[in-house]
Amino acid sequence: MTVALRTPDKLMKLHRLGSFHPSRMSFMYQLLRRMGRENWRYERQLFDIDEQGVGRAVLTMHGPYRSYSLVAFAHDLPDELRSDRVIAQAWDATFCLFDGVPSTEDIDRLETQVPGQETARLTPTELCLSRANRSVRLWQQVVDALSAGRQPDEQQLAEVGYLMRTTAVYGSGKFGLCDRFAIADRPELHAPFQAEMLTVFLIRQFVRDLINHCAVVKGGGQAVELSPELARSLGLGNSTGLGMAPFLVNHPRLIDRWIAARESALAEIAELAAFDASSLQRAKAKLAKGVAKIPCWRSRHPYQIERVAQLKADMLKLEQVDCGSPGASLDWAEENLSDEGREFWATCLLEAYPQIADRWSEEMAIDEAAGYEIDGNWSLEQTLNAIQRHFDWALKCDWNESETARVWYVSQEKLEPRLGERADEPLEAFEQPLAPGRDMAAFARSLQTSEAQNLAAFLRETPEFRHTARRLQWVCEYPFGEIHDNTISAALKPIDMLRLKLSFFGATYFDPRSDRWLRICMFQDAPLADELSLGNCEGWG
């Protein structure tokens, strides 16, 4: 069936993308559904942590074909060294995801590497590398309560949402990890970021075990374990910064697959003549859950406070409206709600029609190594027409000082991605190619005055546009891969870019701390690894 998708020029605006919500198509939801459906089995192979909370652990998930193990190292980190920045040198705990079950020799080798994180050299048997810090607000309070034989205060847990937060989860060959191509054909890892999501899921499990251990160390026989209900209510936090924003610009074909799959599912749903009773009930249940959870979405950032208020108002409208069909409800949302409400209602519709959403979820991966060539036979007119068609917004921008105020760069300090002010700092020589709109407009201007015979000849004369030409040919095939907004404007809010990616991960409680730095929560309310089953692997978010 071919149905009309929402168009990129409407959808791919940063404010809209920065309003995306997690849905059942998000990667952590896909992971748990698969593991529950396939009856994956959890096993704690090793938990050798001493009274100072220092030691090693191995937590394994056994699937039908393969096993994957989280190898964890717990450290005794002085408070003054605890930082979530990439520039940190030490963490409360460090981790890697091992392909299979590690031997003692493997763990010994990993102990010499994993705690160093960015200085580690890993091998193809390691799939991911990560680290986490304790929540200073919550950790000691929870240990104190459990060690005294009582459960911690539920309200205080809810205010933070996690006991530890990761500050990076690396994969895809970084620091010697296994390359993506080597595992992409495995059904369980074919969807994007499945190894990373599994790493996070098992870290959450490790954190639960570690806090129980610390409580016993302190309280001895008096200590109690964190109740399963409270443990389930806690996710794993994450602090993240600008590193995610370059990813979105650097992987346009992958981003297109994510958004096109979601839009295709919505378009198919919108074609249905009317809601059936059970689908409408699922949509309403998702809405009700959203209404119930919105008081927990706390942020001190004015931008986010306003967004949450808009969403709250939109939810009230959604509760009262009665649209006859999914398509009519999407149209109504477009006319009556803010971006927050529009995109939230989209997730309700995906939840209402799980068969459609789950089928399209299988279309979110792509082999990015393929299709890298440029078709040099394009005429210059054809090239200009393509720019006009896909970058009309960029051609209309005058790219003055305010529109080019920012510079994306990478610092020599632990290669941290940063955003600078072009007028104030000498950064242009180090500028990363993360302004496709500006570059496409310059490409168009140069094409207009060129007498080259074709695109290949043009690029031979002016190779500085080669990167942009490749991007243009990609967008013709992958139109949802391109952000239709200026990524170097003085008005840019990088957190919109971060939220887009995090929504596809499945992250919740998006909480910006500035325009380029934020906290989120992952797997909150999900079943724990030792209780995951077919019966609880979905509907938890």
Binding site: D84, R85, D179, E413, G420
Partner: protein, 148 residues
């Protein structure tokens, strides 16, 4: 030493940029070097020697022009200078890959001489901005100690 193909591609691309190539040519050059590494161990430091040659950009413009215009392998260009030999071989492999023809059996790792890895790193580093207090405090949008 062995490295992942992703590491190799990322480092060669940035090293090529650090050597002064435009980003687009740096991308193609990195793909070519990955193709070479998929076939065999990369010995010596010819990758960096090539990048630092004053005509590297001109040669790559010609080779990528051929790649853009033709989807099947081309005759070896006349008067190919010696420095171009291994790079040309890489382009030949890319032609074969892009035309869906012969593919070398996948190797799990790229292997290269460690001297090359370090020389590439040095070039890559030229694409990174020097550290400053202002950058450290403002560029990432978080405090240096972001505890809670």
């Amino acid at each position: 030493m062995d490295v992942s193909f992703n590491e190799l591609e990322a480092r060669v691309k940035k090293a090529a940029r650090g050597a002064g190539l435009p980003w687009g040519l740096a991308e193609d050059f990195a793909k070519v070097i990955v193709a070479v590494a998929q076939k065999d161990h990369i010995s010596g430091t010819w990758v960096v020697d090539f990048l630092l040659h004053p005509h590297a950009c001109d040669w790559l413009k010609e080779l990528t022009y051929e790649l853009d215009m033709h989807s099947s392998p081309r005759p070896r260009p006349a008067n190919v200078p010696a420095q171009m030999d291994p790079v040309w071989e890489g382009f030949e492999i890319r032609y074969l890959q892009l035309s869906g023809g012969k593919r070398y059996p996948p190797r799990l790792r790229a292997t290269i001489d460690s001297e090359l890895w370090l020389k590439l790193e040095k070039l890559e580093f030229q694409t990174y901005a020097p550290e400053s207090d202002e950058s450290r405090l403002k560029g990432a949008g978080a405090g240096v100690n972001d505890n809670d």
